[in-house]
């Protein structure tokens, strides 16, 4: 990310944040997991704050002689992204309220062009000890890591420099046809639908 102005950098982060929230929201439903759902809720609150900050930044630029159209576009884009974040929160709401999700939801995620899967990193997995950057999962499998569960800790939307360890649980999204290969290389599939409260 070179030559990006502060506001551009933050806007891009905002966009990626919104996308991660949607992935996390679906994961929370799929695995009936309130911890993830709660994270989506927290992220949504943070997003509201950042939304406000970005709008102010855009307006301040105009006050300093910046382009009005540019500011309008920024504000509208931030609004649209916020709508996506809100939609993620609506999805996570179901898990937060402990509502049962109909079996069709699980089937739909499986049928979908982008599925979600969870795998546990085995002793001898070639993923163990490598950073996400080194693994290049999106390039190799078309899969991206949504979250990692390490013991009691969770890492949401991990950066490239996060190192994968044995015993980590990976929640990943990607094309359904790559799921088996990915899970095989990772170790084994996690079939958990327990609410870990």
């Amino acid at each position: 990310m070179k030559n990006l102005r502060e506001i551009d950098r933050r806007l891009l982060e905002f966009k990626e944040r919104a996308e991660l929230m949607v992935d996390l929201a679906y994961s929370s439903l799929l695995y009936d997991n309130r911890i993830i759902a709660r994270e989506v809720d927290i992220m949504e609150t943070q997003m509201d704050r950042e939304h406000d900050a970005l709008e102010r930044l855009a307006v301040e630029e105009v006050r300093e002689g910046g382009n009005v159209d540019r500011a309008v576009i920024y504000i509208r884009l931030v609004n649209a992204l916020e709508t996506i974040g809100d939609a993620a929160r609506e999805i996570a709401d179901i898990a937060l309220r402990n509502m049962d999700v109909h079996q069709v939801f699980h089937m739909s995620v499986r049928d979908s062009d982008r599925t979600i899967t969870a795998a546990i990193i085995a002793e001898n997995s070639k993923f163990a000890g490598k950073t996400l950057k080194e693994l290049e999962l999106p390039k190799e499998y078309g899969m991206w890591v949504i979250a990692i569960k390490r013991g009691e800790r969770w890492i949401y939307g991990p950066d490239g420099d996060v190192k994968i360890k044995r015993g980590d649980w990976l929640i990943a999204g990607g094309p359904p046809e790559m799921e088996d290969e990915f899970v095989k290389e990772a170790g084994q599939k996690v079939e958990w639908d327990t609410d870990e409260d």
Partner: protein, 199 residues
């Protein structure tokens, strides 16, 4: 009147489809429509923008379909409790598609220099809109995936005036098609090179 505007006012009738089918379609559209919206803005393409509008209208229709189907499928309190969750997800996917429509509306603000591309072009994933070289006689999308690695996804194919969004992997692409592809920068470059070298 534009096609999407006409469709927007079309009557919605009940069609016998399963909740699962409708939900899957809604989820798929909500994902592809956001990428297409970025693509429209990036390439300042009215054609892609038009496609986003059409999908947005399709989403509205699916939402009604979903509501009708769920109403008919509900027999017990348990059904009602579970299907309320499904409706909630369906609504959220519809909100996402509205957001995609809003992103495309940004293009109307005519600017001397495009503003958003510089922002959207960065990030882990880029979107490309490329023309399939004439020499390509017919190639399944999955073949492209095999050659290039799994890091790309064909979001839409444009053939003549027709758009095929979210195409199946066994669909053939050929010379003069235009394809919207998302993926890592490296993978996209690799894809372009492969397409060009393909006799």
């Amino acid at each position: 009147m534009k096609v999407w505007k006409k469709k927007e006012l079309e009557e919605v009738e009940y069609e016998p489809r399963s909740v699962r089918e409708i939900l899957t379609e809604m989820k798929d559209i909500s994902e592809v429509i956001v990428d297409l919206a970025y693509a429209a803005v990036l390439f300042n393409s009215d054609e892609i923008a038009e496609e986003v509008r059409l999908l947005e209208v399709e989403m509205d229709r699916l939402k009604y379909q979903m509501e009708m189907t769920v109403m008919l499928a509900t027999r017990t309190t348990e059904d009602a409790e579970q299907l309320a969750g499904v409706l909630q997800v369906a609504n959220a996917t519809e909100h996402i598609s509205n957001a995609a429509g809003d992103i495309v509306s940004l293009m109307k603000t005519h600017m001397k220099e495009p503003i958003l591309p510089s922002v959207l072009r960065e990030g882990d994933e880029i979107i490309s809109f490329s023309r399939v070289p004439d020499r390509v006689k017919g190639m399944r999308i999955e073949e492209l995936y095999d050659r290039v690695s799994a890091g790309i996804r064909v979001l839409a194919v444009k053939r003549g005036k027709r758009w095929f969004y979210d195409p199946e992997d066994d669909m053939f692409i050929r010379g003069r098609d235009r394809i919207v592809v998302s993926g890592g920068e490296e993978s996209i470059l690799k894809m372009k090179k492969y397409l060009e070298g393909k006799a």
